[in-house]
Symmetry: C2
Subunit: 188 residues, 2 copies
């Protein structure tokens, strides 16, 4: 009986996702989405009870994108190293997403997600195979690697530094190596 819908939930989320990718949540609003889809605001409020609900859906997509980046790293020959590179690459390719996920506290990520899975058990264990440290030592060492990696990623996301992917990989690899040497030397 009803007319065939022209604008699905998926269309609206996808369109919103693209806006946020380019300009962040600050620029996402009903009229903007409507303009880009070539419709009025009605399809949006038909499919979502409020903008907040839509925002949450978009946030979920962003988090999925991040997870996909991280998972792709696990397939490579040196997963521990690759995860750091993936983290920074994500910050480079999707700076707005990185800022949303890791550089601000919002009502969006408050309860629904525990984003900092970077210090998960498996990461520690993967790190052990690279470093040869004990589990407890690797845990401590990993905090330092994580801080360093996060530092680069933040600088990349804000475009404070503009390194090529190769420069970043070299910087990260070299630095972690040096940190490990120093860590091993200093431990008692």
């Amino acid at each position: 009986m009803p007319p065939i819908p022209k604008f699905s939930k998926k269309d609206i989320v996808q369109c919103s996702y693209e806006i946020v990718k380019k300009e962040g949540f600050a620029k996402l609003n009903a009229r903007r989405i409507a303009a880009e889809l070539g419709c009025s605001v009605q399809p949006i409020f038909h499919n979502f009870t409020s903008m907040e609900e839509l925002n949450k859906e978009v946030y979920k997509c962003i988090y999925q994108k991040y997870k996909a980046y991280m998972l792709s790293g696990k397939e490579k020959e040196n997963p521990y190293k690759q995860m750091g590179i993936s983290y920074i690459e994500f910050a480079s390719d999707y700076p707005e997403f990185f800022k949303i996920l890791f550089m601000q506290k919002t009502t969006l990520n408050a309860n629904d997600f525990v984003v900092n899975d970077a210090i998960g058990e498996d990461v520690i264990k993967t790190g052990q195979t690279l470093t040869g440290l004990s589990y407890e030592e690797q845990k401590k060492f990993h905090v330092k690697v994580w801080i360093f990696t996060h530092g680069i990623a933040c600088l990349v996301a804000t475009k404070t530094i503009q390194f090529t992917q190769e420069e970043i990989e070299e910087l990260l690899a070299k630095s972690v190596k040096e940190m490990l040497i120093g860590y091993i030397k200093e431990r008692k």
Copy 2:
């Protein structure tokens, strides 16, 4: 002939500064300032042609606060180490300010300031006395120290990690020491 002014530029900037300190620029607006000062919005637009002009003044104050933190570090017995600590302490004491200065690009900091003076000549030279490296080597090494320090500061500003000042100082001091050991060992 005119009545004695009750609300000076300084009063308004000071009040705005406090609001931004607690809640960031997002929560700064004319009516909010007026309410806190106990006046109408008129004194604001009498003293400033626009909110943007006031925002810039507030931004300047924030930057001055940051510079004062950094300068205070230079007086200590180990200035190079202290500057890193001051940077993180600033992020801890004034997270909103830190986010404004170093974690986002705004129209405010676009032209008027070159904020990243952290890699200034004098910092490098101060670092040399700590590390004993050549000028060029110190320059390279400092990038790594800066990234690490910035990483901690970002995590502190967003309250992602909640370390005490002592924990942070130990983490930073130990890590830089280890990084230096590794750096020296790996250089050709």
